[in-house]
Symmetry: C2
Subunit: 348 residues, 2 copies
């Protein structure tokens, strides 16, 4: 794999086979494999609690369920690509994973979810109380970890990300069943819910490496755009198959009446009052009957809503790839370009 | 009020009239009144959210309900008593109040409470989701504020306090209805739940003032002991009247089967198997009938359980007062001594 051909190969093939893209993610994992092991050890160490055994029980359930460790891997790769030779990026990567895990625990309470990563959620196995409090514990632990890295700028980035994430989640509550949500409000919401942590994950990698400011900003742009693409792809997949790889069932968002990009586009293209009334009933009132999901899919297809959402995801993916031009070609840069393909390839 | 006579007067009168002690708290408030106004302005400013109006709605409900602002006042007083002349203590005081408010929001979800400070709780007025997420937002905002103060040692203290608080809350879940909870586990739990934030509130005041290490440690001891006394008094009051001032009804802990100090002491003194079976039924199984609370109160009275808990609270109060000897006499020191009396006087 040469640093120059890999990116051009991946941008030439806009829809590479799934397997190729998974290889791309695997390549990135291989490049940071040693660091990632250190992250996993640190996570296992810091999620323990001397006094409250319930804490590691709950976190182990989530941590063992796996997840791709995408966010911490991004931090590790961003730091190394920026020439970082120290070890503090391991702490920051673990921090990012702790924030992510804490968010998942609280999300499951808020969404009243029963499944996460194909396993029963913590709120179902234990109770909502444990999910709320263990989430708080992980937030506090993440905070201790990032302080150890000793950089006030890093702290600032992660604190701001935490505030934007929480704000995005509250915004999601407010817009959840509201068809009046515009595309701007939806993008704002998924920026908070998803892209803010991706952006912080990559930006802190550059900051800890004391990279030139232009590269730090490029990493932030990369993370933001990758996160936006990731979430829009997720929202499209909820209406479009390939659900097995997500541990999520097609139609979950529909059943919850969530206003996502495909719904927004379909509603905007609604040809008549009857169609608008349909969307109002199933999304705003959540009054759904047999056949409604199929009707929604037909309307989306007629409106080109899924294709429209896909094209927006691909535009963000392109933005993410372009941001990497701030770095000289390298194996790590090629692998980070590959991850963009990996995220979008889930649509294929 | 001279700095020398005030402390000796308050330690001479172990059970001053309630009114006198409320005066003592008022004196402390008066001494930091200007700073406290700055804290209130900062809180109002930072709890806002550009994008999610639900956030200030929920926080305003809690903030306007009042509360005594005891914790931020302690931070302000500790900093000024340590000779601090800057303005960053205002940020730290607001930080402490945000952490406290976030904890209350999550507590109400966990306890399924319907009332807080005599008003319906946020989880009842809005929903559990809002309480969880707005609590997360306040944690993140507190984190941004403390970073602005720019001291890694302060950050470390507050991060550790946050972890201990969350751990204490999880520990409370585990011990809630377990009569096997020993006094040590109970003390550990209330240390996390209450004393850790009092300790951090006072300690950071000394740290931001760059006080000598002995004084910083004395402030930490003061805050810890005051917090322990505060929580034990709360637990005693739940079985003993004066409930109007708490916005809490006598017997709430009993109905929830909470294992608190009075229960622990009464169970330890149970004279026979039948009495032990009674406690097992009402606390562990929460199988309660009419007259059970009265029976519990009789058993506590016979065992001297409330008096025993009170004497432990007074021992912590004495420890808090003694810690202040690390500081030269001053109006602020006298007022901080007065606050100890204020906390214990709720028993009268």
């Amino acid at each position: 794999m040469t640093p120059v051909t890999a990116p051009s190969a991946s941008s030439a093939a806009l829809k590479p086979a799934r397997a190729d893209s998974q290889d791309a993610f695997q390549r990135l994992m291989d490049l940071v494999a040693g660091d990632l092991e250190s992250v996993n050890r640190l996570i296992a160490d810091r999620m323990a609690s001397e006094h409250a055994p319930r804490i590691p029980e709950v976190t182990r359930h989530l941590v063992e369920a796996g997840g791709k460790r995408l966010r911490p891997i991004l931090t590790l790769a961003a730091a190394r690509m920026s020439g970082y030779a120290g070890e503090d990026h391991v702490k920051l990567a673990a921090t990012v994973e702790f924030i992510h895990t804490a968010t998942l625990l609280h999300d499951d309470v808020v969404d009243e979810s029963a499944q996460r990563r194909g396993r029963p959620t913590a709120n179902l196995l234990w109770d909502n109380k444990s999910s709320v409090l263990v989430g708080d514990y992980l937030f506090a632990r993440s905070f201790q970890l990032m302080i150890e890295a000793g950089s006030l700028r890093v702290l600032d980035i992660l604190a701001n990300a935490s505030a934007v994430i929480a704000e995005g989640e509250v915004l999601q509550l407010a817009t959840a069943n509201d068809l009046g949500t515009g595309e701007a409000a939806y993008l704002q919401m998924i920026h908070g819910k998803t892209a803010a942590l991706f952006a912080a994950a990559t930006e802190v990698g550059g900051v800890i490496a004391a990279a030139p400011e232009a590269q730090v900003q490029a990493l932030k742009t990369y993370g933001t755009a990758l996160g936006m693409a990731f979430q829009i792809v997720d929202d499209v997949l909820d209406y479009g198959g390939a659900s097995a790889t997500l541990g999520k069932n097609t139609g979950d968002d529909f059943r919850e009446g969530k206003v996502t990009m495909p719904v927004l586009l379909a509603v905007a293209a609604a040809p008549d009052e009857e169609t608008r009334a349909f969307w109002k009933r199933v999304i705003e009132k959540r009054d759904q009957a047999e056949g409604d999901l199929e009707r929604a899919l037909e309307l989306m297809s007629a409106a080109g809503a899924l294709a429209g959402a896909e094209s927006r995801a691909r535009a963000y993916a392109a933005e993410a790839r372009e941001a990497l031009a701030a770095f000289p070609p390298s194996d790590l840069r090629a692998a980070l370009e590959g991850v963009v393909e990996f995220v979008v390839s889930r649509l294929n």
